[in-house]
Amino acid sequence: MVEEIGSTADGNIILNVGPQHPATHGVLHLVITINGETIQKVEPHLGYIHRSIEKMCESLTYRQFIYVTSRMDYLSSHINNHACALCVEKGLQIEVPLRAQVIRVLMDELTRIASHELWWGAMAMDLGAFTPFFHAFREREAINDIMEETCGARLTMNYMVPGGVMQDIHPNFQKRVKEFIALFKSKVSEYNELVTGNIIFQNRMKGVGNLSAADAISFGCTGPTARGSGVSCDIRKLYPYEIYDTINFEEILETEGDSFARYMVRVREMSQSISIIEQLIDNIPEGDFQAKTKAVLKLPKGEFYQRVETARGDFGVYIVSEGGTTPYRIKFRSPGFSNLSALDHMARGSKLGDLVAMMGTLDLVIPDIDR
């Protein structure tokens, strides 16, 4: 029987998890070697959703290529667009009006909450609890409705353009955001009762998937994954862009480095994002929502790099320009790719059920890894 179902010479079983598997949240393919229930090796295979986005960008103008980046990390599409817009603005040295900057930051933080909400639901679902998924979507819907009103779309917003935002915010925007804040605050205790405080949940999360600070740095982990190991890496703090240096917020750090620490970082980050939104929502300055830019953008010859903090970590855009209307070469640095590389190190020696929990805490979005 063992020969029939595929195994290694020393009797370990090789198991294909994915590309179609309920736990991989997309088309990730993991080839894992297991001895009984214990994991010996995890080998991620990529490429099932590779769309050559970087190559496609080379034939698109500086206004057009931003839209393609919404399709990479579709859960923080605003923040991807933001990074690209910032990089183009850096090249052209465009001064973005303050109103546009505030709107951009507000949208970024709303996106971050929406992304963490979805992660929270999916995380609980990976551990076998279905109900939190629906509860998370209740709040996420409220954010999507706000986005729909202002940007016209719910998932791939394409709201950021070089020089500012595409159009002014909807008149209802401030009212709706305040309603959302009230809703979120009334529900956040529910999250802790239902999931965080659950003894089964804590037993499943604490002490598994350990990632030391040194390992987190050497694997290039960023975002909540690295901050769960105590590595300070919030781009909003280290290399502030837009108005982040004027806002009062805290970089969430947990030092345990296990799955529960990564979980707590994300849960606490949601509250920080709420606090950022609260500071800004009543103080949106009057003015233009977009700087005056030329119809055709031409970046000067040179190389430009801009990094931002997405919901998953450090997202970088690297543009090489030859002076034309399209980039010569574009490279995206996606957080998910580096975070995934730490999975094998974390999972070795743990049980199969924990692998799913660890993948959940890495918050992987496969189109972001593959591009």
Binding site: A23, N203, G353
Partner: protein
């Protein structure tokens, strides 16, 4: 008060007048068989719908509400869909065992229906070792799961089956010890006599804290034994896609599905019989006036009310808790539940000998 025994006696006398005694026996057997199969199918449909409704209620959504009045016919439509689907047998599977496994699951579930007393005179088989019979037959369930997992020739199925084997064998012990505690108190293995022993109050209330502990352990153990969340490691869809029934489709899958729900019903019925008095109305000691009022509620309503309350409890668990890991699952049984129930049964024995219960 009308009674089921009147109806059955009527049929019996009519048959014995018109047929010879052998044929009377055969016809009565056929009628009983049809009754069980009908009840089986009806319970399956009702429980699936109930599960979906409870899940929807907990998850702030509506649930099935399109087919029939208020979605009542949804599970009927689903059954029809599964009936016309192709029942595939994968290449490389052990065809005989693969196709046999779902039938064993269903046969086991059907056999378990026999000794349960649904109402005061409504029992298929008044067995003198009813409790022993239920415990023995319910252990056979694991054979069908192991068979399905092994014969599928799929690694996920095999892992699910192995998990399930370890799990059911372990939790049988605690469930058995909890059941034994009631046997000790009532002094009988006959389900009817156990119910009669609760005429002046249910064991859950008569037996002080040790019986409450036994009841809690029983509920945990049977949740694990029927492979329901948070102990659904055998199917664990986020880890093993669908566990032991990954390769099953169409009606073969439906039989597993049906057997799972019937098993839930049966363990809850056993729990209701042992701890909550089965069809026995809620009585308080010798307070005749109160007991008399309670007797006006038909016994079948008492039985199904208690059973469905326990089923609701188990469904509530499923939609609230995350799943345990395999080593934590076995730790819970061998390190906590089993020692506690062993100590508990000693305590209950002492209590029964000294007559400390009400």
């Amino acid at each position: 008060m009308w009674s089921f025994s009147k109806i059955s006696k009527l049929i019996d006398s009519w048959l014995s007048v018109n047929f010879s005694s052998t044929w009377t026996m055969v016809i009565e057997m056929v009628i009983a068989g049809i009754a069980v199969i009908t009840l089986f199918a009806l319970l399956g449909l009702v429980l699936v719908l109930m599960e979906r409704r409870v899940a929807a209620w907990i998850q702030i959504r509506l649930g099935p509400n399109r087919v029939g009045p208020g979605g009542m016919l949804q599970s009927l439509a689903d059954t029809l869909k599964l009936l016309v689907k192709e029942g595939m047998t994968p290449d490389g599977a052990d065809k005989f065992l693969f196709n046999l496994a779902p039938f064993i699951a269903m046969i086991v579930a059907m056999l378990l229906m026999a000794p349960i007393a649904f109402a005061s005179d409504f029992q298929l088989w008044d067995l003198n070792i009813g409790v022993l019979y239920v415990t023995a037959i319910s252990s056979l369930m694991v054979i069908s799961i192991l068979m399905a997992g092994w014969a599928s020739n799929n690694k996920y199925s095999l892992m699910g089956a192995m998990r399930s084997g370890a799990q059911i064998v372990s939790y049988e012990l605690s469930a058995g010890l909890s059941i034994m505690s009631i046997v000790v108190l009532s002094g009988s293995l006959n389900l009817n006599e156990i119910i009669q022993s609760q005429a002046d109050g249910w064991w859950l209330f008569k037996g002080h804290i040790p019986v409450v502990i036994a009841f809690i352990i029983f509920i945990i153990a049977v949740t694990a034994e029927t492979n329901r969340a948070p102990f659904d490691l055998a199917e664990a869809e986020s880890e093993l896609t669908a566990g032991f029934h990954t390769e099953y489709s169409g009606m073969k899958f439906a039989l597993f599905f049906l057997a799972e729900y019937i098993n839930v019903f049966i363990v809850c019925a056993i729990g209701a019989t042992l701890f909550l008095g089965g069809w026995m109305p809620f009585h308080i000691g010798h307070w005749q006036a109160f007991n008399h009022v309670m007797d006006f509620i038909p016994s079948s309503i008492w039985f199904f009310g208690k059973t469905f309350f326990l089923i609701f409890l188990i469904m509530w668990f499923r939609w609230t808790f995350p799943r345990l890991r395999i080593d934590q699952l076995l730790d819970l049984e061998w390190k906590y539940l089993l020692p506690i129930s062993m100590f508990n049964i000693l305590l209950i024995t002492l209590m029964a000998i000294l007559g400390w219960h009400f």
